[in-house]
Subunit: 373 residues, 2 copies
């Protein structure tokens, strides 16, 4: 089967090779459909070489000129808490300190192979840094729209990579402005289908690196790139026959910013959008792929789990004490696990994946500020 770029909403589809990030007919997000994953053996996939080790299951535009900075193949650390096995997937050990690098590697590879010379991104910090870094490696220029209160250190690092930075009043305004900028190609991870292809590799690694089959996966969720990529990876693994059952997907959002709680009609949810939260990475409310995320939750019999700053600080404290140098957004998943165990939804004997998404090394000062002395 040829690779097909297909609209997630209308029936538009195409198989020619150009960089596409939304449906030219109805403006909905695009998905890439292929059966490359049915043609390979897991033994042909190699850990420790970035996307190059998984190149045979990636779309053609990525295979043509892969740009790798050693993303992925992150370690798994097994811990047991209250009878539950946790597989911590250390996504904060990616090249720029977040799982976003998986998507940047595939996105910038696709951009490079289609001759794009400038990319445009919107970001609260991690995605912008990641795109700026990979663009620099590929010799492509980058422009990043970020909210004015994005962490200073991340912004300065983007500039080191030669990124042109545009600061906007809020996260959502940064997102809107980036799409309107016509001086480059928009590679925003909220939309682009290549980022999802990069993240799906994480699911393969989870099965290749250890013997436990996860029963649940808890993913901090804003744009949905992470949860959609993991789901796609597990779907392919089931189609291949490597595993039998889909793990339940739990999306974690902040009490004050939960488009998923609204979409799922959660009665206990009061929309607040308070301007202050320590969880920068989850402040996005304009989510083009929200329908797809809801499908993942429903089909896998998962849910959305809501946390607040207090839960996150407590979880962060425990994670740091365990030796994981992560940022507050990463701690939301551990906070959510505590809730799921308390509520009897995750049970003893289960194997739960918690991807630790972003590095605390980029925000030492913030860690010191938010953690109790």
């Amino acid at each position: 089967m040829d690779e097909v770029y297909k609209c997630t909403k209308c029936d538009w589809s195409i198989s020619i090779e150009r960089y596409i990030w939304r449906c030219p007919r109805c403006n909905a997000p695009i998905q890439i459909i292929s059966d490359k994953h049915l043609e390979i053996s897991l033994k042909d996939l190699k850990l420790g070489r970035g996307i190059n080790g998984f190149i045979s299951i990636l779309p053609k535009l990525i295979r043509m000129s892969p740009i790798s900075l050693g993303e992925g193949s992150t370690a798994i650390v097994l811990r047991e808490v209250l009878g539950v096995k946790i597989l911590f997937k250390l996504e904060y050990l990616n090249p720029t300190g977040s799982f976003k690098d998986r998507g940047s590697a595939t996105t910038i590879s696709a951009a490079l192979s289609t001759g794009i010379t400038r990319v445009i991104e919107d970001s609260s910090g991690n995605a912008g840094l990641s795109i700026a870094c990979y663009a620099s490696a590929a010799g492509i220029s980058s422009r990043i729209y970020a909210p004015i209160d994005a962490p200073r250190g991340k912004i300065e690092l983007m500039k080191l990579f030669g990124a042109d930075i545009k600061l906007m009043p809020t996260r959502n305004e940064a997102a809107r402005a980036a799409i309107l900028d016509k001086e480059g190609i928009y590679v925003g991870h909220r939309w682009n289908p290549y980022a999802i292809e990069g993240v799906k590799i994480e699911a393969y690694e989870l099965i290749m690196q250890q013997d436990q089959i996860p029963t649940a996966i808890i993913v901090p969720t804003a744009s949905g790139m992470h949860i959609l990529g993991l789901y796609k990876g597990f779907k392919e693994l089931i189609e291949r026959g490597d595993i039998r059952e889909m793990p339940r997907f739990y999306a974690v959002q902040h009490e004050d910013y939960s488009p998923l709680a609204i979409k799922l009609g959660r009665k206990d949810y009061l929309k607040r959008e308070s301007p202050q939260t320590i969880v920068n990475g989850l402040r996005l409310t304009d989510v083009p792929r929200i329908g797809e995320i809801v499908n993942v939750i429903k089909r896998s019999e998962g849910d959305v789990v809501l946390v607040n700053d207090h839960d996150v600080v407590q979880a962060l404290k425990v994670l740091i004490h365990m030796g994981f140098v992560v940022e507050p957004t990463s701690a939301t998943a551990y906070a959510a696990l505590n809730k799921l165990i308390n509520d009897g939804i995750v049970e003893k004997g289960e194997t739960v994946v918690i991807p630790l998404t972003g590095s605390g090394l980029k925000m030492t000062k913030k860690l010191i500020d938010v953690l109790p002395k």
Copy 2:
């Protein structure tokens, strides 16, 4: 063969199991001798699970209660420069952002299995952060002696892990004070043999992750833990028959701090010890294992390569542009490669390993300060 703890200088040796960091008879460093590496197949070693994936080639004290935070299995990125293949080994993607985590995992595991409750370390930053983190994970308390000008962010992170910090006027004074502290066990990487066991795994990974056999390895060298560990790993791989020839080992030091240039009788070397350099990690001049390092250089037909701040800034600029978020000390190896190529010592067609040792995410501000705008 039983594992033997053997003095590197006199003929003292012992096979009982207690934590030993120097010879009780003559105070010289200790080495661990074993033939565990001859008993396994490379297929039994697993990537992506920290030291747990390599546990069968590690000494008994480490095997008894391994503490892993997902260290090692760092990605390799291949680049070609002037006809030379470079295998960048991304050691900055270790749990606390430096290769030191490899040694901390094995050292703290050995400390835990011998019932030690407090560890003492001296460090310019990375090793202290690493030990503080692993000690926290193991439930062991830590005390770190650091020079007063150690990077602030690293010191603050050590405190987050509950470390007791003692600031000393210079790097060498920190080293001296740590050894005199009798309120815990000294785990300094300059001395301890367990750290070398952790680092040797990096050599195995280099062979397992890709097909090129390195002809040369360029290692920024202070205490020698990194170069000695890599050499030990390659020695084991040769004994096992996985590779035939030892790569040449080039130790990189700073023009103003080179105990190796003195020891090797380099005529062009003028000892300066200038107080200012951007290469914090190489300011150590009191090196107990210097004799062993000299042996590695001589036996492998390598050399010491001297660099200065100007060389390092230029190399750092290139590495950042390539997408590697590293600290200045990591850039010394790339600066050294340029010299070795210019001098005709490394030739076209060679395959050279450059371990990128430490993360720039811990010192964003310094990167911005030292790099030209």
